[in-house]
């Protein structure tokens, strides 16, 4: 082993935490390398100072009232309950495996009770000694005198005699006798060697317990990990979605909505299904499922910011109905041509972000992103937890090491106070605002976004205001517990931003790196779609998904009404279900024919089924431009629909089944599977194949074919 001051084994050696083999390695190093030996002695000296200092901290105990409460509770609760599994854990999806686990745990539990009886008596003996030798006395420290003032402990510590002497020793060249110096031996008990420290009692007990119950401990830990990783879906927070119903074209010839490029719902649904849960209805946003996938739409060739591709096929759940796909493709920007980025990462470092699928994932994905940046870009990092702070001032993108170093230092701990953090993040972004750059705050959180004393309305207003001044907000949700889905989506919408849910590194790379240009470089904003249906061809229509993106028809031409944005290379997909003229209409109440209006004669009687009108603004512009894309009536009977449209249809059907949609007809998961399997296309990244797995999971969990 070579000497490396950053090797944690050196401290572990000092603290007797190394297994024998490694211990021997360190000892060999110390014997052969004086520099290492000196370093380790300094570590030992430091540990002594720390132990002495901490031993000097004032004592604090419970007051009699609190103690009495605990005593009452101890007497009213029965001892040693049997391990109980929440009932839902034994439901479908877990099935036999969960049942087997229950048996195993209960079995081992019984064994454990026997074990712990015998070990308990030994334990008592050991702890008896502990009581006779209080730890403070064992450490040779003098207890401080303490008073409580303003809810704080105010201590008058004894003379800190060791400090100065120890410091002087450390400044001198190391000597052999350093380790034996009184100042250190007095205050640095080697934990395992201390005759009666509490650790002896607990490690002994762990050892005894471990003999009989390793299996149970492992199963138990696995179960706890599962429980902490996911919470019952009902605790997550999703807004209620009321599905769009059919509209008669005669009464409502126009359908207007704002484009939406979020995909978070898919990752939420995937996580729940993979964990054996049926997602709650309102977690299933069909347009987000559809838009999770990329479709191979050609980019615009005419200099416009995007192209629209219309295609139809029979609806899989009702062959008498047509499904019309509107596929929009944003123009593709060459990486070299992309505008510079001014990014401020706002990271939640509260304690709950500690899980491997949260902060560590944020770090890894940011590292991957940093590799793509260059000198034109600026990256800053703001953290928030109990407090908000700037951990990386705006730093050029080519200074990767500086950015990565700041990332490395991050660690989770403390509670969440998002309000202060978001203020600081916007301030940082504004200070380095460049009009030709992409100015964006990227919030990474596990969702418990505590706005603190700031009213939520104020926060939304601020985010909206910042968006108008050109600083947009992207929200990335990590992990699952405490996931406040609706809050995050709302915030990102207010901030002209997008919102994604990230549950593994692939997803992180997809959102943060692969889509970086698409997500970051907005090529058009306030993109609205209005579809006009021809009553001579279409009797009724229904927009699938986009429930919370609906606009009033007069909003389409109103440039003051905000809408979604499209990023470079992005695809946006929307599906309409159409009932052609001549097919029976579902129970849609009809509005009386108008008495005083003259029915206008259609411009193109039955040659066009519909026209898609789109309005958009340049990212920096205030006035909108309109584009129109008609769909010929003949295209409704498309004999050979493409893989893309059929795959999108299968995803829509999947969402309708999960939502228990009243429009699902006779559709089954098996139908969805068949359709999707036949429409995988080249699926280079395997996203569509993963979808098949998800459909099978859903089928198993719901118990329906």
């Amino acid at each position: 082993m070579n000497f490396d001051p950053n090797d944690p084994r050196l401290t572990a050696y000092v603290l007797n935490e190394l297994p024998d083999a490694e211990r021997a390695e360190v000892e060999a190093l110390l014997a052969s390398n004086p520099e290492a030996a000196a370093f380790v002695e300094e570590l030992r000296a430091t540990t002594g100072l720390i132990a002495a200092s901490l031993a000097n901290e004032p004592d604090l105990t419970l007051d009699p009232a609190r103690r009495a409460t605990i005593r009452t509770a101890a007497e009213t609760h029965p001892a040693g309950r049997i391990v109980a599994f929440p009932w839902w854990r034994t439901l479908a999806g877990f099935g036999a495996a969960a049942a087997a686990l229950v048996l195993a745990v209960v079995g081992l539990h019984l064994q454990r009770v026997k074990e712990s009886r015998s070990s308990a008596s030994e334990l008592q003996i050991v702890t008896g000694i502990v009581h006779e030798q209080p730890t403070d006395a064992a450490r040779g420290a003098v207890p401080a005198s303490v008073a409580i003032k303003d809810d704080r402990l105010v201590a008058t510590p004894p003379e800190a005699t060791f400090d100065v002497a120890a410091l002087e020793k450390m400044a001198e060249p190391p000597k052999e006798e350093l380790a034996r110096d009184n100042a250190f031996t007095m205050s640095a008990p080697a934990p395992a060697a201390a005759p009666a420290s509490p650790v002896l009692a607990s490690t002994r007990a762990v050892g005894l317990a471990a003999k009989g119950i390793i299996g149970s401990g492992f199963a138990e830990r696995r179960r706890q990990e599962r429980e902490s990783a996911i919470i019952s879906p009902s605790q997550d927070d999703f807004d209620v979605i009321r599905e769009n119903g059919f509209q008669r074209v005669g009464d409502h010839p126009l359908s207007t909505f704002s484009i939406d490029v979020d995909t978070a719902s898919y990752a939420v649904v995937r996580k729940l299904l993979n964990d054996g849960f049926r997602p709650p209805r309102d977690a299933v946003r069909i347009e987000e499922l559809i838009n999770y996938f990329t479709y191979d739409y050609p980019p615009p060739v005419d200099g416009r910011p995007f192209a629209a591709h219309l295609e139809a096929m029979p609806a899989p759940w009702n062959p008498q109905h047509s499904l019309v796909r509107i596929g929009i493709k944003g123009k593709v920007i060459d990486r070299a041509e992309r505008p510079p980025l001014n990014l401020v990462y706002l990271l939640d470092v509260s304690g709950s972000m500690n899980d491997v699928n949260k902060l560590p994932l944020v770090k890894r994905s940011l590292q991957a992103l940093v590799n793509q940046l260059d000198a034109r870009d600026r990256v800053a990092i703001v953290v928030y937890a109990g407090a908000a702070g700037l951990v990386l001032p705006p730093t050029p993108g080519d200074q990767g090491p500086a950015i990565l170093e700041a990332l490395e230092r991050l660690e989770a701990g403390g509670s969440t106070a998002g309000g202060a953090g978001i203020e600081l993040a916007y301030r940082t972004a504004r200070e380095h605002f460049r009009s030709n750059a992409v100015n964006r705050v990227i919030l990474c959180t596990d969702g418990d976004f505590n706005v603190g004393t700031v009213q939520r309305g104020d926060l939304e207003a601020q985010i909206e205001r910042e968006a108008k001044s050109g600083v947009f907000l992207t929200v990335l949700g990590f992990g699952m517990g405490n996931y406040k889905d609706s809050t995050l989506e709302l915030l990102s919408n207010k901030g002209n931003g997008n919102y994604a849910y990230i549950d593994d590194f692939n997803e992180a790379r997809k959102v943060l790196v692969d889509q970086m240009l698409g997500t970051m470089v907005t090529i058009a904003k306030d993109v609205k779609i209005q579809v006009e249906f021809n009553p001579a061809v279409v009797a009724a229509y229904r927009l699938i998904g986009y429930e919370n993106r609906m606009l009033k028809k007069e909003d389409f031409n109103n440039d003051k009404v905000d809408a979604g944005e499209i990023g470079a290379g992005h695809t946006v997909t929307a599906l309409y279900e159409l009932i052609p003229v001549g097919q029976p209409l579902p129970d849609v109440p009809e509005v009386d024919a108008l008495k005083y209006q003259v029915p206008s004669s259609p411009a193109a009687p039955d040659t066009e089924a519909l026209t898609v009108k789109m309005r958009y603004k340049d990212p920096a512009g205030d006035t909108s431009t309109k584009l129109e894309f008609p769909l010929p009536a003949g295209a409704l009977g498309n004999p050979a629909p493409s893989d893309d449209v059929r795959f999108a249809a299968s995803v829509a059907g999947f969402g309708m089944l999960l939502r228990d949609s009243e429009h699902r007809g006779t559709l089954t998961y098996a139908d969805v599977l068949r359709l999707a399997e036949s429409a995988l296309g080249d699926d280079r990244l395997g996203y569509r194949a993963e979808f098949l797995k998800l459909v099978r999971n859903a089928e198993a969990i719901t118990g329906k074919p």
Partner: protein
């Protein structure tokens, strides 16, 4: 041992260390006492067979999450002091330099305050509570390897700072 005795023994054994620990996290006597009370109340309701063998780690782990939950509910906003902000903004700066202008008494606690939260917590659990790396990993919900890293890095930082400082003093 009967259940109430078992609880009482654990209260007697861990009350002070837990209070100290909670106080180090909350800096409020009443909040610390609340967290510790809540911890023992959970102990009363908990499945004893799951806890026996690693009582200390269980208690510190529960106590820690009580504190975090309480802070989440009760202290929604807490701006940094200007001094803390300065340290965060210039992470390369040595906190020892700030400390050296004061007397050397209480130097170690002050330097420890400058460490990142988790390093400080791990060190406290090691040296004040004598928990093993394994138990600390349980309390902090991380791996043993990470605990080793946290403690080593924290101690090395303190050692570096004290060296610099004593060099400056002499």
């Amino acid at each position: 041992m009967e259940h109430p005795e078992w609880i009482e023994r654990l209260v007697g054994q861990h009350e002070k260390p837990l209070c100290r620990y909670a106080y180090s996290l909350t800096r409020s006597v009443s909040a610390a006492q609340d967290a510790v009370q809540e911890t023992f109340l959970r102990l009363c309701k908990a499945d004893r067979s799951k806890i026996e063998g690693h009582e200390a780690a269980w208690l510190f782990q529960v106590c820690r999450s009580r504190v975090i939950d309480m802070q989440r509910k009760e202290k929604p906003m807490n701006h940094l002091t200007p001094a803390q902000e300065a340290v965060l903004a210039a992470p390369g700066k040595n906190p020892a330099e700030t400390a050296m202008h004061r007397d050397t008494e209480n130097l170690v606690p002050r330097l420890m305050d400058g460490l990142p939260d988790r390093q400080r917590e791990a060190i406290r659990l090691k040296f004040q509570q004598n928990l093993s790396y394994r138990d600390i990993a349980r309390v902090l919900d991380t791996s043993e390897g990470n605990v080793g890293f946290l403690i080593h890095t924290g101690i090395k930082t303190l050692r570096d700072q004290m060296k610099t400082l004593s060099g400056a003093v002499s």
